[in-house]
């Protein structure tokens, strides 16, 4: 495959990641958001595989497979299970209305592109355009954490930020050393499970996962 075509494939996959990030912001139900996360992670895994093909670095293939196994199969299943177990309403209940959050996320994307433009102008790697999208996904994930009420959506926001960070790592440095990658994957998995258990506990104690009620937390 020529470099130009490979760049197009990588940029296209990055655009898909951004697209699914927006779908996650627009989603009104938990299961919808988890589906969007799954698809976004699948695009991320394929992007990692494309980078591995370009750099001929075999360990990135392993990273790609790990991404797909963990973020496309394990974590979404666990999140689905948690949502079903909590038995609360599955609607998302945003603090900022969904059209409003979409426009804000659009603005965040512009900011991400603007901030990264000096770096992109200097870079020589073929994945440099992904940097803006990765920063945008991190910002959007942060926004989701701020602007949603339910503890579950905050977990999804954190996972989204992690996807953005992974994209940044792979697009600038063509992947970190293997041991670091595996450590990060393990971290994410454990974080998702622990936060899921927290969500159970919060639900058990307060009978809701609405974090605006958490100010009642006292000793």
């Amino acid at each position: 495959m020529s470099d130009v075509l490979l760049t197009d494939v990588i940029n296209g996959l990055a655009a898909l990641i951004l697209l699914f990030a927006f779908v996650m912001v627009a989603g009104a139900r938990m299961h919808q958001i988890i589906r969007a996360y799954t698809l976004g992670s699948l695009a991320l895994g394929l992007l990692a595989a494309a980078v591995a093909y370009y750099t001929q670095a075999d360990h990135i293939y392993i990273v790609a497979i790990l991404t797909i196994v963990l973020k496309v199969i394990v974590i979404p299943r666990f999140l689905d299970y948690t949502v079903d177990r909590i038995k609360v309403k599955k609607e998302v209940e945003p603090l900022v209305s969904i059209p409003g959050s979409l426009l804000i996320c659009g603005a965040l994307t512009f900011i991400a592109y603007y901030i990264t433009s000096p770096i992109i102008a200097q870079g020589s790697v073929i994945t440099k355009n992904c940097l803006a999208i990765s920063l945008a996904v991190v910002l959007i994930g942060f926004f989701v954490i701020i602007a949603r009420r339910k503890a579950m959506t905050e977990i999804v926001g954190l996972l989204m930020m992690e996807n953005g960070l992974f994209l940044a790592a792979i697009s600038l440095t063509y992947g970190m050393p293997m041991i670091v990658e595996i450590g990060i994957f393990f971290d994410v998995l454990v974080a998702a499970i622990i936060m899921g258990i927290f969500a159970f506990k919060i639900n058990h104690t307060f009978e809701t996962v609405d974090t605006t009620f958490m100010r009642r937390l006292r000793d």
Partner: protein
């Protein structure tokens, strides 16, 4: 001078092709939906028979209506056909000197405007409801459509639809950019919204809670109803053609040789059939959205189109 005559003949042929296959595509979508619901379904030629039946019947027009009601079917059919003259179908040569993408978008806007006016004109409750809903939807969809086609115009450096298609198809894969995905996703959502398909509107229902487009044409009957139906079917195929030839124009003919014309014809039919399949799958797998949820979906498409335009300047 000959050049212009050839272009005129080609445009007329392309518009007639769209008009001729429009009921067929609608029939195919219905057939696929029927199979998805484990039904036999009507023949794919049924829309032709329906329209022929409408044209053999007289129109009943309320005495309270004004000329707007009577003239709307003709205006909407004419506007769709003029738009079809400008859109490239199997060859990139069209009446590009008459109008560009802005003209196409606003010709379709004219159709919407007059349909809504005519629905108000008859004075029935459903008409008013349908047109207010239609205007709510179109207020977000119209900028989305313009922006998403603008993104393609920016990439190829022209606003003429034929030139966009030829620029993209000649330069091949090099012009594929992230903007293309974002803009085409935005345009697909606006196609669904503009043509009264699920999840925005249900074209087959007559329940008051779900009607948008149906509510507006409820007062029409006979020949006028036939014209309205035919124009909305043609409009659907027109959107499919824009989607396939502006965003993914590969295969379209750039010259007059028989081989490239044949390839162009096969390519456009294949792409339109594929889009019909996509629409049918979407319609059978998603239920209709609540009206107040619609702005969420439409804002997604607006934001995507906006990003597509901006990413051109930044990347």
């Amino acid at each position: 001078m000959d050049q212009i005559y050839i272009d005129i003949v080609l445009s007329v042929l392309q518009a007639l092709l769209l008009l001729a296959v429009a009921p067929l595509i609608t029939g195919i979508i219905r057939k696929i939906k029927a199979y998805a619901q484990q039904r036999q379904g009507a023949s794919i030629l049924q829309p032709y028979r329906d329209i022929a039946k409408y044209f053999h019947k007289d129109s009943v027009v309320s005495r309270e209506t004004s000329w707007i009601f009577s003239v709307t079917p003709y205006i909407s059919m004419a506007a769709v056909l003029i738009a079809a003259l400008i859109v490239p179908v199997f060859i990139t040569r069209t009446l590009g000197f008459v109008g560009d993408l802005i003209v196409v978008v606003y010709l379709l806007g004219t159709v919407r405007f007059f349909t809504a006016l005519a629905a108000l004109d008859a004075g029935s409750a459903f008409g008013g409801m349908g047109s207010s809903r239609e205007m709510m939807v179109s207020s977000i969809v119209e900028p989305t459509m313009l922006l998403s086609i603008f993104a393609m115009g920016l990439i190829s450096g022209t606003t003429s639809l034929g030139s966009i298609a030829s620029a993209l198809s000649i330069s091949g894969i090099d012009l594929v950019r992230p903007a293309l995905f974002l803009a085409s996703a935005a345009f697909l959502i606006s196609t669904i919204a503009e043509n009264a398909r699920v999840p925005v509107d249900n074209p087959t229902t007559h329940l008051e809670l779900t009607m948008i487009h149906e509510g507006m044409i409820l007062e029409y009957s006979g020949k006028k109803l036939g014209l309205m139906e035919l124009s909305s079917m043609t409009r659907l195929v027109l959107y499919f053609t824009i989607l396939s030839n502006v965003f993914f124009p590969w295969g379209i003919a750039n010259d007059l040789s028989v081989i490239s014309l044949g390839v162009g014809l096969v390519a456009i039919l294949g792409k339109v059939l594929f889009l019909a399949l996509v629409i049918a799958i979407i319609e059978s797998s998603i239920s209709k959205l609540r009206l107040f949820r619609l702005p969420n979906l439409l804002t997604v498409s607006f934001t995507l189109a906006l990003l597509a335009v901006m990413s051109f300047y930044i990347l």
